[in-house]
């Protein structure tokens, strides 16, 4: 957990150095879904945005909800997009699919986390900054048999990202016993 959150917090602190006015963008993952989906034994696409996301936040933030913090976070967000591909053998997907998504992450985004683990559970976290605020997050989680792209649009405190783990098909990333390179 610390391995991922600590760099995130450092990056958030440093973010005041980044020019203001940078707007969050939705990164489209449509590019390689056909190729990946063709090889995957299961493809999961979650799209939660607009009024639906605000509604989810409102209802999950009620006093008797199990996770009011999650609800408060959702109310601030503009979109959560998850594309997850599961394969039946190790290394069944082409790593160029990851490169294609990386290529879509353009100017204004910063890579703040790059975890490479011995068992090939790799995680990359990119943030889009607007002044001192994080306005968007892209997470690429690559495991031997699963590839997940997550795009979170809207103001988010990086420390809150753990609230989303295990929700809306977002994998539990921070609990992995990963080694940073």
């Amino acid at each position: 957990m610390k391995r991922i959150l600590l760099p995130m917090l450092v990056a958030a602190t440093l973010s005041v150095l980044v020019p203001a006015g940078v707007r969050a963008q939705k990164i489209s993952f449509d590019l390689d879904t056909t190729t990946l989906a063709a090889k995957a034994i299961e493809t999961v696409e979650i799209t939660l945005d607009g009024e639906l996301l605000r509604l989810a936040g409102r209802f999950l933030a009620t006093a008797d909800a199990d996770e009011p913090e999650l609800g408060r976070l959702l109310r601030r967000l503009e979109g959560i997009y998850v594309r997850s591909y599961t394969f039946d053998s190790d290394g069944a997907y082409d790593s160029r699919a990851i490169a294609a998504v990386r290529a879509r992450i353009g100017a204004g985004w910063q890579k703040i986390v790059n975890v490479r683990s011995a068992d090939s559970d790799d995680v990359e976290v990119y943030t889009k900054l607007a002044g001192d605020r994080v306005e968007g997050v892209v997470i690429i989680a690559a495991q031997p048999r699963q590839l997940t792209f997550i795009n979170i649009v809207g103001p988010v405190d990086l420390a809150e990202l753990s609230l989303l783990e295990g929700q809306f098909a977002i994998p539990r990333i921070s609990k992995k016993d990963a080694k940073e390179k």
């Binding site: 989906a37 995957a40 034994i41 299961e42 493809t43 999961v44 696409e45 979650i46 799209t47 939660l48 607009g50 009024e51 639906l52 509604l55 989810a56 209802f59 999950l60 009620t62 909800a65 199990d66 996770e67 999650l70 039946d88 295990g166 929700q167 809306f168 098909a169």
Partner: protein, 163 residues
């Protein structure tokens, strides 16, 4: 009958006819699936009574539901069903979940707001069986289930009705 009375009667009849002709999204999906060769809708005993019970007791936060289960005879992808699925997006429903598996299993979930909470429309297709489910339920319960298990939210809620 006065002219005004006749006009009101005609307007009322026209409204009733138009309302009856408008196919719901649930109906659109059911029609598309049942029109496929070799597909038969399964009779579910006591479904009507169960629905009345749900409307009265609201188990698992559900206010109402419609359910259709089809024996699909191993039907795979059908353009007509794909068109019906695509048409739902343009009819006030927001697509939230899409799951596809290599074995042909598919799940689609749409949501929309309703006066009492939220409505969920689910289409699930697997070898041998297709399911169309529409639920109107408490929004807090729905979102909690959707967050915990997006693809399984509909079926888990349906299973919870029997508890």
């Amino acid at each position: 009958m006065s002219a005004l009375g006749r006009a009101l009667l005609i307007a009322g009849l026209a409204g009733a006819v138009l309302t009856g002709c408008r196919t719901s999204e649930f109906g659109t999906l059911c029609n598309a699936v049942s029109a496929q060769p070799g597909v038969h809708r399964q009779y579910i005993p006591m479904l009507g009574i169960a629905r009345i019970g749900v409307r009265m007791a609201h188990p698992a936060g559900v206010f109402d539901f419609k359910l259709a289960v089809f024996e699909n005879g191993g039907m795979h992808r059908s353009p007509a069903v794909d068109r019906a699925l695509s048409s739902i997006d343009q009819r006030g429903w927001t697509p939230v979940v899409k799951v596809r598996s290599a074995d042909g299993t598919r799940t689609r979930i749409w949501l929309r707001e309703s006066p009492r909470g939220m409505e969920m429309l689910l289409f699930a297709h697997e070898t041998g069986e297709s399911v169309v489910l529409q639920l109107e339920m408490d929004a807090e319960t729905l979102f909690a289930r959707l967050a915990a298990d997006p693809a399984g939210a509909g079926r888990r809620t349906l299973a919870g009705l029997g508890d």
